[in-house]
């Protein structure tokens, strides 16, 4: 890449189980307002402010065809350009980067909003499955994940205790995150004693229902340096689709993630991810996923992530802290999830992560998933130099 794209400002709402006090767009506005105030940038056409917007939301979650109509008054779109991405929000950041590199606009507002509480996630997610063969089985993302968890744990000998440690770590980390929905001081036993949702996934192994939004401003390098003295650069990014039908996939593997990670690392010039990445924010919708995605990301060998968490490698004091923010398990809505991983990575690289700061972080990894058992995997490498 010749000229880089930088992230100039990020904001997240405080994640909450049910924002009965605000519409979808109003929740989005809370995040947008923060980045506008932080940068002082305005929606203006003369090149000195925000040129256009990329939004991200799902019609089925909002219950509104063309769901970006919900966010329209808040993102300066009247008589201006806006595009909506329909995947996890990390893909909106990816698309915005390409939009800038294409030379169309220099400065973009990116915002993802989702109120999972508006409609039963189970009903919404059921609609993502093939209507003829899979939907009638009453599948939703949780049940599909349970199938994947069982397969992964059996194949690699990962134990429920190792998965539970992910929850203990992340819920504990969340105490340092003012945006987190539900930080908790819990033990492995607490996780394993919590009600079984779909074997082997207990209630505490699953991310809770959450409402919220995340907003960012991206700009091409020259402008990014003007708008902030701490720009964070997108060094590498890629995504990749898995097969759709669960039977077409070996659920214990995530080849798509490995593909996306390889491309992102190559773009960022990373040869040894475990050594070169200082902090990772990974989208763990369910506890087993943090372990599985770490392996797919090449941070360790196949089936070894359980041992890493046993040894404390991914805890705050370890060699490669994973999810200092508390991750999705502490409460993050779908769609916003991956984008808030990017936001957390940006805060780490700006040294603004408060008590969850990983000291001297220079290179961060942000990861997002969309769909059934992470059918679309997105990997982003960020750096501050």
């Amino acid at each position: 890449m010749t000229e880089r794209v930088g992230i100039v400002s990020v904001a997240q709402t405080k994640y909450h189980p049910n924002r009965a006090d605000a519409k979808e767009g109003e929740v989005g506005w809370e995040a947008v307002e923060q980045v506008l105030n932080d940068t002082g940038l305005k929606f203006i056409d003369d090149g000195t402010g925000i040129d256009a917007a990329v939004s991200c939301s799902q019609d089925y979650r909002d219950g509104r065809t063309i769901s970006n109509l919900n966010i329209a008054p808040f993102i300066g779109t009247h008589f201006r350009c806006e595009e909506k991405v329909c995947e996890d929000g990390i893909n909106a950041v990816y698309y915005a980067m390409m939009h800038i590199l294409a030379g169309i606009h220099d400065t973009l507002l990116v915002v993802t909003h989702c109120k999972e509480s508006t409609a039963s996630p189970s009903l919404v997610e059921n609609h993502a499955f093939d209507p003829i063969f899979m939907r009638i089985l009453g599948l939703d993302f949780l049940i599909a994940a349970a199938l994947q968890a069982r397969r992964y744990m059996d194949k690699y000998g990962v134990t429920p205790e190792q998965c539970a440690k992910v929850v203990v770590k992340n819920r504990g980390n969340a105490k340092n995150n003012p945006h987190a929905q539900a930080p908790m001081d819990i033990t492995v036993e607490d996780v394993l004693k919590s009600p079984m949702l779909a074997d082997p996934i207990h209630e505490l192994d699953a991310k809770p229902v959450s409402d919220g939004a995340c907003a960012m401003i991206l700009a091409r390098e020259k402008k990014a340096k003007k708008f902030t003295d701490k720009p964070v650069w997108i060094m590498g990014v890629s995504n990749c689709y898995e097969a759709h039908y669960l039977g077409d996939r070996d659920l214990a593997e995530c080849q798509a993630l490995t593909n996306a990670a390889k491309k992102a690392y190559r773009m960022a010039g990373i040869k040894n991810p475990f050594k070169e990445i200082d902090v990772a924010e990974i989208s763990e919708n369910y506890s087993y996923q943090e372990l599985m995605w770490m392996e797919g990301l090449g941070l360790c060998g196949q089936g070894e992530a359980g041992r890493l968490i046993d040894r404390g490698v991914t805890w705050m004091s370890g060699e490669l802290p994973v999810n200092p923010s508390g991750g999705l398990l502490s409460g993050n809505p779908s769609e916003v999830a991956g984008m808030s991983r990017v936001a957390e990575a940006v805060l780490q690289l700006r040294g603004e992560a408060g008590s969850r700061q990983v000291p001297a972080a220079k290179v961060a990894l942000a990861h997002g998933t969309t769909g059934i058992c992470g059918q679309l995997q997105t990997v982003m490498i960020l750096g501050n130099e």
Binding site: E26, K42, F43, G63, K115, T118, A119, V124, H127
Partner: protein, 163 residues
């Protein structure tokens, strides 16, 4: 047998049913309470372009990108029909998620204080409908806090105001 058997296309009928529980938020919420409790219409005025945001009052005026303050304005419930269409197409029923037949004409009414509202007209006879005719809201006896549904329809109160 040399006849080609008629191809049978098998289709599967699935009903897609997701209930949605939308929050109205502080702005629409206030409007809905006013409609339910006082049978009044209110909008919020943008401090920037002075536009009155109704029927969707919002935290931000998307026309000029200005945050609203607290300048709520009462709107008279009388207005002029600027567009209307008569029956024909089915309309959405929020309670069932299905379409139902339209009982009355649908109109775009420009309220006397400026903003527009889309609503039903009491008058069903197409002969009696005219662009520019004057109408007034007829409120439900007991408002239920469902916003525009707390108005039954708009009743003709006068001839066209067009010159």
């Amino acid at each position: 047998m040399t006849e080609k058997p008629e191809e049978e296309f098998i289709g599967v009928n699935i009903v897609s049913d997701i209930p949605y529980d939308w929050a109205m938020g502080p702005y629409s919420g206030r409007l809905f309470r006013e409609m339910r409790d006082n049978k009044k219409l209110i909008g919020i005025r943008c401090p920037g372009c002075k536009r009155i945001l109704f029927p969707l009052p919002e935290a931000v005026c998307g026309w000029c990108n200005t945050k609203v303050a607290d300048d709520w304005v009462e709107l008279r419930d009388t207005g002029t029909v600027v567009q209307y269409t008569v029956a024909g197409m089915p309309v959405f029923d929020n309670r069932t998620g299905r379409l139902k037949g339209a009982e009355r004409p649908l109109a775009n009414v420009k309220l006397d204080d400026g903003p527009y509202i889309m609503h039903w007209l009491e008058e069903k006879d197409p002969e009696k409908l005219k662009l520019g005719m004057r109408v007034q809201a007829v409120w439900k006896e007991q408002g239920r806090g469902r916003g525009y549904e707390d108005i039954l329809y708009f009743r003709t109160i006068g001839e066209s105001s067009n010159d």
